[in-house]
Symmetry: C2
Subunit: 419 residues, 2 copies
């Protein structure tokens, strides 16, 4: 549900493009005067004023404080308008569904997470439940007078982004699920405003936009879940690959011990650093942390607590997994040469014990020494929804003219009593 070509062919297209330039400058450079905005965008002062006026009417920007103190006429700041235009991020995972709504300033306006058993419920019921969740959030937003720019669904699996179809999500046991279509029929949103993407991709976007790697234009996101997911951002753009498989890093054949993997192959990286490998390494069967009926996050905290206490087995296991993580990451870093590797999912939760061994391997194996740092995500399990909301908002930043204009009561000028 994307894919219109770049088409600034006529003057209105040019206007769209310049509106976008100004809006994006407000996002990346913060509040600033129209004069500065003009210098930064290379546009004329007069044009900039006109563009800002239009952004105001579309409720995307607003005039703020007046800054005096310097030589010359004081300037009035232009800033992104909070709580007026928002984007909806949705997520389906094995154990839960979630929503988050962000505004243009990346403020969270709404957030909800419900546990559920996706495999048991089945595709249709889950999507309908997600639609309800989304509809609620959208209703709340509209009641508050906000305009909803769009919604993006994060799914752990292979997604045909163009058509909004989940092609294969092994952990959900889904195949060929037309998520966007089904959602569109249940939500009061334009079809092109609804999209679906891989969860690691969206998490990478979130880290790029607001997380620990904000503004980094080349980054690699690695998340430890049931599998191992990867999201790649190169030169500020998400890399999806020819068929959307980019980031299927869990199945790199790296494990020297040819352990069997769920994918049918042997020696996959996942068999070293996946969640199953972690649990097997830190505890025997029957241990509470291996009881999958318990909440994953709680079990991970138990593991973290044991490591903190100095439990030898736990520490050794985490150190080994950290090393394996570093070895795999070093390969990716040599190929992609990112500025930062961001660890998410359980990697972030146990990062305190995983990061150091991983960094050691990286330092030893990476060619571009010193140019890449390894950091832990602080978005936790909300990275995907935030990324989704951000992706939805990106539609507005790319083309601000899709935002509706406020119906301004056209100030009929008083003509001194004449009709």
């Amino acid at each position: 549900m994307r894919g219109q070509a770049d088409r600034p062919v006529d003057q209105t297209g040019l206007r769209r493009l310049n509106l976008s330039r100004v809006l994006r400058s407000l996002r990346s450079d913060g509040p600033q005067s129209r004069a500065l905005l003009a210098r930064r965008t290379g546009l004329n002062k007069a044009t900039t004023s006109s563009l800002v006026a239009e952004l105001e009417q579309r409720r995307l920007a607003q005039l703020g404080a007046i800054v005096a103190g310097a030589v010359g006429r004081p300037s009035q700041l232009v800033e992104l308008r909070p709580r007026a235009v928002c984007g909806v991020g949705l997520e389906i995972n094995v154990n839960y569904a979630a929503v988050a709504v962000l505004d243009l300033t990346d403020q969270v306006l709404f957030s909800k997470r419900v546990p559920l058993d996706v495999v048991e419920l089945g595709q249709v019921a889950v999507i309908d439940l997600l639609a309800e969740l989304a509809a609620d959030a959208i209703a709340v937003m509209r009641e508050a007078g906000n305009w909803v720019a769009g919604a993006t669904v994060a799914v752990p699996g292979l997604v045909d982004v163009e058509n909004g179809v989940v092609q294969h999500a092994p952990n959900l046991r889904w195949r060929e699920a037309s998520v966007a279509e089904r959602l569109a029929s249940r939500l009061d949103l334009a079809p092109e405003a609804i999209s679906v993407d891989n969860d690691a991709n969206l998490s990478a976007l979130a880290e790029h936009a607001v997380g620990v790697a904000a503004g980094v234009s080349d980054l690699l996101y690695l998340t430890g879940e049931v599998g191992v997911g990867g999201g790649v951002i190169a030169d500020g753009r998400l890399v999806r690959g020819a068929t959307g498989f980019t980031g299927e890093v869990g199945h790199m054949p790296l494990n020297p011990a040819p352990a069997e993997c769920g994918c049918g192959r042997r020696g996959c990286w996942e068999t070293q650093v996946g969640l199953a490998a972690l649990l097997r390494a830190v505890a025997d069967p029957g241990d509470e942390v291996r009881d999958s009926t318990h909440d994953l996050e709680l079990r991970l905290r138990v593991i973290a607590a044991r490591a903190a206490k100095g439990d030898a087995r736990t520490r050794t296991a985490l150190a080994e997994i950290g090393s394996a993580l570093g070895v795999g990451a070093s390969i990716l870093v040599n190929v992609l040469n990112p500025t930062a590797v961001v660890l998410g999912g359980y990697f972030a939760l146990l990062g305190e014990w995983l990061a150091e061994p991983a960094r050691r391997e990286l330092a030893e194996r990476v060619m571009a020494t010193g140019s890449c740092r390894l950091v832990l995500s602080d978005l936790g399990f909300t990275a995907a929804v935030r990324g989704g909301a951000h992706a939805a908002l990106d539609r507005v930043f790319a083309d601000p003219s899709i935002a509706p204009t406020e119906i301004v009561p056209t100030e009929v000028p008083h003509l001194g009593g004449i009709a």
Copy 2:
């Protein structure tokens, strides 16, 4: 020597963009009528005519055959103009320097290759020699009335593309070489028309543009030289990474036998599939193919001949290297999910024996089964220069208005004798 931001801010910028759209459509869709061009670009017929006229004046396009036979008025084809505007590709490698000049239709207008010992000559002498080579080519072009759009130098090493500086080229023993600057002072070209890039990157561009993977927008290029180089194109764009190290795939730690690598580490992929590994595997010391005073291409042909004859040692060695190539490639394919993997350098020359074992490993290890094919480059050792020439021409495709207008004698309309 690049990096102006995207700046279609005013109407002339819009015009530039539309000129580019038309020109690129001519490249990708071939000769076509103005009416069809208008439908394809989404521009108005009148606008398209005007744009084509300007492209004609800049000698980028020309009117060609008239196509009749269908209902309606016959159409006149518009096509890229051959032999009028050209780009220069340059290459420095360990044993040779090379030039190639291409026109807009990818025709080779000039080509030359001179053997030399780069290490012995030293930076300054080599660059000066390259400048001479380039100056000759440019002189020939200008004599023929052609306009030279720019020149791009391919270097086997890490390049700061922005500033045209070779930061480190181990095989050349170069460090911090201001190639672009030095070349600019010796060539009659604008500084911004001269750029430098990694040879594998440019080769990947060549394969993307004219080679076996023409038009493929997600591809991985792997070249076997002294080291192993990689070039990544994702979504039609070259991926360079944060510091230009993208494609340093030779040093992925994959070799289970921890053989020592030139980089100081152990177990690098290069120690399995690099040229040194090949030569060691196929022949004992003293064998003619290991005599580095001979031309590499000839020695490779000897190896190919032995394999063709059925020599057991050669065949076994090639099969093993092919497998190792496949294992490494599978990792990259899982990460990047390209449509095609193109093998260049010595991989292509010995491709007949390397490809099959490599394909077997790929088939076994790649997640996105069936979506990626492995092919051999047919550009041989000219891939880098061709890619360079293409990169130079890309400046024109991106902004046709940089091409000079032909001085057309402005037809003063006869005003019936009145002064």
